[in-house]
Symmetry: C2
Subunit: 198 residues, 2 copies
Amino acid sequence: MRFQLEGRVIFFATNNVGKFIEAKEVFREHKIAVGMLRAKGLEVQSDSLEEIAKTSAIDALGRCHLPLIVEDAGLFIEALNGFPGPYAAHAYKTIGNKGILKLMENERNRKARFESAVAYHSAQLETPICFRGQVTGEITREERKGSNATGFGFDPIFKPINSNKTFAEMSTTEKNRRSHRANALNTFAEWYKKPQET
Amino acid sequence: MRFQLEGRVIFFATNNVGKFIEAKEVFREHKIAVGMLRAKGLEVQSDSLEEIAKTSAIDALGRCHLPLIVEDAGLFIEALNGFPGPYAAHAYKTIGNKGILKLMENERNRKARFESAVAYHSAQLETPICFRGQVTGEITREERKGSNATGFGFDPIFKPINSNKTFAEMSTTEKNRRSHRANALNTFAEWYKKPQET
């Protein structure tokens, strides 16, 4: 039996298994093999997801020397002036979904968006290349999770536009049809599949 | 008339004028001259104030080549699992004091602490040296500012232990007798005044 590698290979530097599972499914559609690199190190403080992702990609490439992507995401709630923004992970760890719902009590404007920046870097590049994705939606009035939900973070309180379900009530496949992350990863994958000129 | 420089000189890399005013008063007591360097650039995302301050100090020294300090502070609220922590500036810009008070509604445990890390770096050092300070206290039930208050950020909702006033109701001199920042800066200044062996 021969081992045949069809298509391309990419490494995803992340410590978040949930993100990796979503990415794996996106890349399967594109016949891109993906490996998880637990090598996401340095993250800068910045209001720009692109800057955060690019700096992390430079740092990860310096340590791993493999063609890789880093993804950074943020949740921006209109009525809270963009809070929690790029610091969504820290807000999730501390105040969690309950904290966000408390801040949004009696708030009529529920508009929010998730943004994602995927930075690709390899030894052939001078600086990383960035791909963006976003999804608009609203903050629900309570947490809603599905029974076999795979979502994480603020997924239980975010309902994308034109959907009755929160991200946490969707399967990975359903979430990937709409999500900011799948959006950015698909844009990257389309580009990555093409013969590269470098 | 001759210009005579008594004591030492230090540069404070910060974009926050409020912080600089506090530092200037602390250093005056120690006869250390201080200049404001608007050169605070890179800040990493980390739960460690020390790591944030040190990384910023390395970055600033690389650009300015002057003996300098960088200060990073955080507010850690016990009932909110340490929120907003090192990301206090972003939380202040978005949800502000009102957001914190909302999160703390009906919360009996009001305990909180401010922490400060001052990183000193110069061309003579291999890595920055860090000095810490902290103050415990509580989150008030409402914002309280003095009429000629000089405080900033979360000062109006933080009352240090054994005080009837919030930081925002104190003069710079009063705040400097208690604050996390003055605490760290004084420790640094004591060390900096001594003849250095390097």
